[in-house]
Symmetry: C2
Subunit: 378 residues, 2 copies
Amino acid sequence: MQSPICAMLGIEFPLLAFSHCRDVVVAVSKAGGMGVFGAAALPPERLEEELAWIDAHIGGRPYGVDLIVPNSFAGKGEAASSGAAQIPESHLKFAADLLGRFDVDASGLETAMEARQSFGDNMHEEGAARLLEVAFRHPIKLIANALGVPPPLMLELGKRHNVPVAALVGTRDHALAQVRAGVDILVVAGGEAGGHCGEVATMVLVPEVAAALDAIGDTTPILAAGGIVTGRQMAAAMAMGAHGAWTGSVWLTTAEAETNPVVKEKLLAASARDTVRSKSRTGKPSRQLRSPWTDAWEAEGAPKPLPMPLQSLVSEPALRKVDKLAEGGHEGAKALATYWVGQGVGLMNEAMGAGQVVQAFKQDWIVACERLNGFLEE
Amino acid sequence: MQSPICAMLGIEFPLLAFSHCRDVVVAVSKAGGMGVFGAAALPPERLEEELAWIDAHIGGRPYGVDLIVPNSFAGKGEAASSGAAQIPESHLKFAADLLGRFDVDASGLETAMEARQSFGDNMHEEGAARLLEVAFRHPIKLIANALGVPPPLMLELGKRHNVPVAALVGTRDHALAQVRAGVDILVVAGGEAGGHCGEVATMVLVPEVAAALDAIGDTTPILAAGGIVTGRQMAAAMAMGAHGAWTGSVWLTTAEAETNPVVKEKLLAASARDTVRSKSRTGKPSRQLRSPWTDAWEAEGAPKPLPMPLQSLVSEPALRKVDKLAEGGHEGAKALATYWVGQGVGLMNEAMGAGQVVQAFKQDWIVACERLNGFLEE
């Protein structure tokens, strides 16, 4: 396809797949798109293992790595200290009581919390630097930052290794700031996206950013994100000024994904109304599948979510436990189980292989293009 | 253009323009789209005047009329009683204090509230019936209901006069319910729309509804709405399954629109982030330009908005007064002034004539289509 994204990344079809599952990354890259491995939650030695596995299986196809190094979070600039000590008792009690109402035993969560600390560490520049060092030892073709302007080290390493740097933005002003900072690709993400997201919808944000770049004569290519789970939506975004699409949710229900089977089933059954944008998981607004867990944190009288990354130290150990029990058939845990997903979940109704999804995108893209041309036929 | 919307409505370009300004309706229809006159807030005799003026100026071009007859509101099924008596003192005091903080004199608002009663009356079936009677005395080519399933009388009159009935929907399930009820055109409105709106974004809702209709073999045409203020967005929605677009916000800044000049200026300067979805104006969630007025109602401790149509009896007299003072240069009123608008306001940066906007849509549609085809060129 004639897109600057294809030229820049050496791929056939400008569809990028963010996934925490190495199998998805490999399958998408092999099918002509590009898998981007979400490394934010991993310690460096695990990232090394995962990337080595990808290198051994991807057959030389290009792939990328995604980190989260936000501009603001609790303890930024401090030495990575024990976040667990900063969690108020009220939050722990609220989470434990909520689990209790669904017959989920809340004991042992504090220990799990300590283990989660690497997530918080990776957001600090030192932690991120260790992940970057690992990533650049591998033949990656893209490095992405999922929240805010990439740290100078990421931009510097990208330049040194000739690897494009991508950054997610949720507003026009952030897009302009990123371009000034020197990113090579903008991932323009609407508020319907799964995970961290802004409030402006993809339908507005993509043309708004495209127009803002045009106005300053900037040609940084745009990947549209937010709600995109089909080729027709990808084509729509590209008609409005994007040069390809960045996707995440759609891979969660693929055969390769390690998504909890209970959550997978819930995702396939969900409609577009079944998501909520809430601070309750990470401390920053992120879109996720609604469940009694998210409802409780959104209800009146619930404790206010802690700043990133502290809220994750409350939510992640609890939801990991919920996931494990849900997989074992525990009814209360099945009810509580949730995961990040965008509104596009309403269009995800069939489990497919990840390579198959790429092919479906290609076909649907063509159908959408023909459909549009059809309106002009005599 | 080859669209079932064009065939059904007898127009060239499937762009519908919702407006309370008769001049906009006339200009859009004359330019090849279709103006739809928003009649909800008018007493029947005023509607008669407005439609007579349109008939005299539109040169036989097709136009439509839009009402709001919601399925649920305070006092539905009761004789239209004085709503004003049902307003709690706390709400009136909150509004008056808020105006006071911006040096706007809040006296006389109760009288204005009584005058607003016709808006509430029009939402009752008897009130709506009087408006429908007026509308069908004129050569309208479309009747639309802006909230919920159209009342049986609207569907019956549409059928009898051979006038298509359109209805706005914000969810897949509502779309299916409307189709079962017998509407002829679905206006599928994403959460980025101005005025009353749901939560699902246009980018997801349009293909979700299109797929749901396909699945039951239904061919009701779809107008996409929500955030659409340019031809490229219209093309994008049509690539995803829509057959045309329904627009509102984009006409507010046209030369023909009677929008308060202060608000017009604010709209032209606003970015997509400057809107809020709030119950504070009508009692149901509606998207509007953020101002200290909307901020105050959204703030912690603010009174909960009353059910429709009672909240309008609090907000409308106050905001009418604000509008009048703002136009006269009152600084506090200029700050408070707001109006319904979608996130597309971020792309509305230039005042144009309404006919010019239609031409710009046509050109931009073609450019978007060519752009999409360009990705496939060898």
